[in-house]
Symmetry: C2
Subunit: 754 residues, 2 copies
Amino acid sequence: MPETAPGFAVIGKSAPMLDGKARVSGLAVYTADMTLPGMLYGKVLHSTVPHARIVRIDTSRAGALPGVHAVVVGNEFPNRYGILPIGHDEAAIAVDKVRYIGDNVAAVAADTEAIADEALRLVQVEYAPLRAWFDAEESMRAERDLIHDDRPHNIEKHYSHNFGDVDTAFARAHLVREDRFRCPAVTHAAMEPHATLAAMQIDGGITVWSSTQVPYYLQRTIANVLEMPESAVRVIKPAVGGGFGGKSEVCPLEVIAAMLSKKCGRPVRITYSREEVFFTHRGRPSQIVDLKTGVDRDGKILAVAAATIQDGGAFCGYGPVTVLYSGNLLAGIYQIENLRYDGFRVLTNKPSCGAMRGHGTVNMRFAFESQLDMIASQLGIDPVEMRRRNLLKPPCFTVNNLRVTSYGFPECIDRVVEASGWRERKGKMPQGRGLGVAGSHYVTGAANPINRSDMPHSSVTLKADRDGAFTIYSGASDIGQGCDVMQVMIVAEVLGVDPSRVRLVAADTGTTPVDLGSYSSRVTFMCGNAAKRAAEELKKEIYRVSAEAQKASGKPIPQNFDEALRLALEASGVIVAHGHYAPPEAARGGHFKGAGVGPSPSYSYSAQVAEVVVDEETGEVRIEKIWAAHDCGRALNPVAVEGQVIGSVSMGLGQALQEEMIWRNGFLMNPGLLEYRSPASCDAASPDIESFIVESIDPEGPFGAKEASEGSLAASIPAVANAIYDAVGVRIMELPLTPEKILRALKQKKKAAA
Amino acid sequence: MPETAPGFAVIGKSAPMLDGKARVSGLAVYTADMTLPGMLYGKVLHSTVPHARIVRIDTSRAGALPGVHAVVVGNEFPNRYGILPIGHDEAAIAVDKVRYIGDNVAAVAADTEAIADEALRLVQVEYAPLRAWFDAEESMRAERDLIHDDRPHNIEKHYSHNFGDVDTAFARAHLVREDRFRCPAVTHAAMEPHATLAAMQIDGGITVWSSTQVPYYLQRTIANVLEMPESAVRVIKPAVGGGFGGKSEVCPLEVIAAMLSKKCGRPVRITYSREEVFFTHRGRPSQIVDLKTGVDRDGKILAVAAATIQDGGAFCGYGPVTVLYSGNLLAGIYQIENLRYDGFRVLTNKPSCGAMRGHGTVNMRFAFESQLDMIASQLGIDPVEMRRRNLLKPPCFTVNNLRVTSYGFPECIDRVVEASGWRERKGKMPQGRGLGVAGSHYVTGAANPINRSDMPHSSVTLKADRDGAFTIYSGASDIGQGCDVMQVMIVAEVLGVDPSRVRLVAADTGTTPVDLGSYSSRVTFMCGNAAKRAAEELKKEIYRVSAEAQKASGKPIPQNFDEALRLALEASGVIVAHGHYAPPEAARGGHFKGAGVGPSPSYSYSAQVAEVVVDEETGEVRIEKIWAAHDCGRALNPVAVEGQVIGSVSMGLGQALQEEMIWRNGFLMNPGLLEYRSPASCDAASPDIESFIVESIDPEGPFGAKEASEGSLAASIPAVANAIYDAVGVRIMELPLTPEKILRALKQKKKAAA
């Protein structure tokens, strides 16, 4: 790879994260590291029952304990919040009833953590139990003891879409397959547990430092719950140790810390234990996928009918988006001219699911790419060829009006096929060793914000000041993905200056302009475009001001940027400019906009080949290698793209092979990293992941860039499942792909063969 | 007074300081309140000799003490700093030689203050003494052992100006008086001692929180001394507990904290003891004034020849400005058509003098207003009448090209004459009780910045964001004078919104645009103009963006501001604008600009009447009342103006009656608040100070505002001296006006009468 992309000075040259040194040296300040004079420790009392009315809460003994400064219960701050306008059903502390084991019942602020713990033990809660719903299919039949009174049958959301003429297409299909796939709930397991420090100010405002992906949503929510103007709430995002979607909604502790601080007028910090992080969840739902696909003799897809039931947990959260993306994004990678979708988001008495890396697409992609291989096998078509026969032909609009303008998927396939030696090796390897291929794609942010239509997507202001230095003010939140340095690179590239001259102030609602947050892989695209526009505006303004000043004094107009900058600063002190971005109308889903098809201004593509070795004695799967090609439009910062791809694949392999939230009567049985078994560093180090960057140069993205942090994950799981099939001839249709399931399938296969 | 000025919604209505509640409740965070993880305590070793070469410093034992993390001596960071381009002679820690008792010799950073103290005791310094110069007149004759090698005769600066034809005017004068006046050194004695917290960042930058009036100067100095780009140095001003000029230059601890932090890579905080604050000084110099004034038969001033020697201490500092203002501002209050000035700024082996409230004008005004009374007495003219006969006739340029465009001095005189019952009571009071009048004036910032001509005077950026709220980004430093709320008021007034919708981010070089600092009473005028322009630009931009958006969608253009704002924010996300201010060419001194006459874009005026009772047995003076009228152009925030006037008078009374730095062989004998005797709260409460606001509506100031925080001080001292003369017939020509001096004068008077 050349040091920079051709024609660029900065773009395309790998650059470390701005706070990289601070992170690796331990000097980065995370929320849990912060203290303030007079700071108290907040702790939350969690429900021990899954579904019950709260008859009585007695906090008098807790409040009387020396060293306790505030005790708060739900009805003191009853304003509900949630994702506007879809769901608005949450209170940080339960009001009237609890809905899952771990639900928040009361909270205290005390001089020490030990006193806070003691105070929690003194809170007495009397519950009147209700029937609890733990299974989504059962919950859908509920007639009484509903989880939310305004959701009949505990159905949070039902999408039913029909694009094209699905039944006619099935009728003329050569082969129609119907399969059921199952995926368990998995969660983010970010290294940093959630933490929030809230400090009421004497002027009636509140400042909140929080481990969040969405400072501006948090600002709005706290304002709503505390009944303060938004401008009186300042949210600052310190260093964040990973989010992956788990911090992309407002989490209860963020609101509770603010409540406690408001109540006692002192700063209050809450740091969640790992168990509480699991209670907070918002991860990927347990999901049943019924997938029906019809193809012609050549393997060309004629129609797809997908139905899914998602076990969403106790609150709405981002659930409607999860279930929307599961169905409607199917059309965005392969040519599907007839598509039917029935998606149910069901409430249960468990922690709420939400957005998790690859939001909505991962489980469906496992199903689809698995079934595609099954069909290919039946038709005797090579799996790679099967995928090549069903490519989109962009630029195009899909049957449900998703606009695809850049499409590096074919090249992604080519790259991994070539690198893995697919043609030479596939089908020629010893028993127990196999190759599998899969594709995936993802949105580059939502074209129609699901939340707060009166907020611009991204905005950046930019200041030229003394010393020839530039300051970016950006609302975007770097949570470890590197969007801070991305903005510095874009601004430096546009201005033609060294990146060391560009500083960044970010993610502080008190000083930075609004940005929707770090989720849906939107930041590089939306905020990158805003930063690019701000820099372009600033450059124009610098030339304009300097030319004006020179004209006024009869001197020649400067042609050199640094000379123009010097003159402009002399004339005007400081030069400021602003850039903002919102996706164009054409990318918003056209006439299906109202149907909520979930369009994005751009889609990324991945292809992966997995090579596995399966031990037929133990069922154990060893990943030998993953070849992962990702079409990120343009790699603004190649090392960051590569890091995202490798991270995505690692996370995908965790879900593929071992991760699973295990429930028993509403109890999470494995609420710790030891039991939950995310890949540890030794797991992550063992498979050799080779990543390939494919640059399709998106016409709308900043310098052609698009999504690069989530899309890869979804291909890893089916690639492994398909490789297992290739290795030992068994098809596992339920995640994770554990040795037990493989052994069982091998036994059944033997039995059938016998 | 009406609630707001006529025609205004916000301006003219008293508003509390933004951090007023925090200050009075003890919640305001001053630098000394701050801690950071891993923070060390810095301490400075001070010279015990007044003038000596440093032969050897042995820090090995100090460095070896457990808990000591850094020891620093001068030659490690030898880059000199000071006021560009005038003086550039300082190092925070002495290099090669020490120049006063208290000079900085070494510094340490340690885990605790006790360890740091112990480490200082272990530093061994060997000095080779030089002759020390303590008396300015003697120092001017020095041939050897110069304090700075490049300053012959220890003369830092000599101004010699001649405007008009002074000798001819004296020749035709009816009366010429020549008198010598003496003033001792006085210092600021701000409540908050200096404190600095410096924290090197892992990215190679440094963040510095400091009790400073000049964050941007400090940023530049630290960059220079630490040899870092300015943009790598971030200076933040926390709450400051008073400056009065004492924090308007870079102080050694600010640089030393940065040096120590750079050396050990950990945050280092230094908080000065009160004794160290006295060592840092930068207060008003001890000064000899030889004043010669010629008047005609009617008391009309024909010529003034002033000569002064200022004892400046060991470094240049702002001294050249002190001595410049002493002479050249004489022309700015009374009509003086012929003016000669010889001003010497002399180096001595004492802490450096600098800027202190009323910088340069106070001692000269004591002399001038005293002598004016003496002349009036000789001519039998009433002191008020004497002043009225010598008024300026603005708009005008003075003989030395100071441009006076607003001049409320006559009205100030009228107000205090009327309120005090001057006409009825003067000369008719019992022996021992007297009335005295005096006038004063002051600049509204320097039209030609003494420092860094490539910096704009003031700049403000302004952001309109969600919630209909506005954020001001301002480089200006509120040090207790209320400039934060001033900016909020101006922006609210221009935008037509409630001030509660306007937030402020200030004095943080990392986020705010450049401002020269809080000194010379420049902030309301310069930064106020910048804020006003930013708000005007923002308003225009809001209407422009909203009109454009509405036109594009064929909808009507909004006429209402909040509607326009809503539409503009929807269209553009965030709206930003910028305003900056520099004084116009016409206010810069014209053809005398090169001669450094010290012009300002605007001058404020004060008149005061003092009523005193003098006990002829003890010499004790009791101030009965001060009537103080101040022309501040327009009182943007009347309570703030009134507070400044009362504060100025109080500080003036301290200098008039009791304050004095007492030296013996270079030792300061009273380096503590108990011994130095600034007025305590009981002293300040006892005289009844009645303040009158006079509004001359300056054509250049923001809404007509000009200086309101320093000018009043200078009138208080001569008003009291003149009142003492009126009460008991003795004229004290040396400050402070102590009982001893009064008794001695009374005795001499009796002896002469006998």
